[in-house]
Assembly symmetry: C2
Homo-oligomer: 218 residues x 2
């Protein structure tokens, strides 16, 4: 099994063994649903490969993508009785599933683990605050640039540093993450490419002028 590196770095060998004995490795096909907003929360997931889209829907169909989960990320921490958002696979996804019962028992038994999960949750909260600033106060161009730099950093932290940022999600997903329309996302990408700030490549974007981009994100 893939090691749960991000959560378990500080665990002892026996704790790790216990954790892995409770994890159900699961595969999801492209587009498959991991769980749905409002449904009873049965499992917590740790993504081990692929990218997951996390989103909330309004009754009239408006959608807000609240995040993209990459390998190492935990889903369903903010679990009450029901999931607060939906999650589905972008491309193929591998994840470790923990039943809710196993998860709560584990957390009660292992303060180490709880501490790591808490750090995880507070980091997520910090990211959420940054996303609020982005959604509430930034322009379309700033939103796109912050998004690209953010994704680049996240891939880099996972050991995939590159000037080419993979974007496996659709333009619509990006638009719904940034509070824009697909047309505005497309136009803004085109404009940034025309100015040679980025280069649009199949499946992603190459960062051509990181200085200008960092200055805008400031």
């Amino acid at each position: 099994m893939v090691r749960l590196v991000s959560v378990c770095a500080s665990l002892t060998d026996d704790e790790l063994a216990l954790l892995e004995s409770l994890a159900h490795p699961t595969q999801f096909a492209a587009g498959a649903t991991l769980f749905t907003q409002g449904r009873e929360a049965h499992s917590v997931y740790n993504v081990t490969a692929g990218v997951v889209r996390l989103y909330k829907l309004l009754s009239d169909g408006r959608r807000q993508v609240v995040g993209f989960a990459l390998p190492g990320d935990f889903l369903g921490l903010a679990m009450r009785d029901a999931y607060g958002f939906s999650a589905d696979a972008i491309g193929e996804v591998s994840a470790c599933a923990f039943s809710r019962g196993a998860y709560t028992a584990l957390v009660d038994a292992k303060p180490h683990l709880l501490k790591r999960l808490h750090e995880f949750a507070t980091h997520e909260l910090t990211l959420a605050h940054e996303q609020m600033m982005l959604l509430g106060r930034r322009t379309a161009e700033e939103k796109l640039i912050c998004f690209l730099l953010g994704m680049q950093q996240r891939w880099a932290r996972l050991g995939k540093p590159s000037v080419t940022v993979p974007l496996p999600m659709t333009r619509q997903d990006i638009a719904d993450f940034l509070g824009l329309t697909i047309e505005t996302v497309s136009r803004t990408f085109t404009r940034l490419a025309r100015e040679k700030t980025i280069l649009i490549v199949p499946g992603g974007v190459r960062v051509m002028n990181p200085e200008r981009m960092s200055a805008v994100a400031a």
Copy 2:
């Protein structure tokens, strides 16, 4: 000392005594700063009276209010070395301060407490996701209505249920929370009042048509 009711409901008497021995009760005058974004994080706070404005600034002065803390709320949980946002008092505020050292020691020693704090953090994360939906996908009118209903619920949960929602913060604070301008907030309030959905009273708003408001917030 005021009991730390929200965090400590599940603690034993000796744990509660320990907690209170480490808390420094502090008073803040109207407009006083509890802490500033980017400064070294020295303390964690539990608000016991009053309302605190939490916000992030961009270098050019654009501001995003990420939340309003009411009595019982914890500030500085998402603490790394530096505070991720600024906090200042709206009106007079009382809070219990815990030094960072005391806080981390306490958390390491008392898994009960950590579990409560983690629940707190995940609840905050859920609220943050809802705020993302609001900021990214809702209209000005929907934003205002969701805000009013949200504040009403929060006061109700604190034992102050009322059709009159206290709004001790300025219109600018509300605008910066909802990703709007002060003019749009003012105009939208006026329109809702003209339609008899709300009644604007000194220091707050009276909910006149909760059915319509809940329908919009849906």
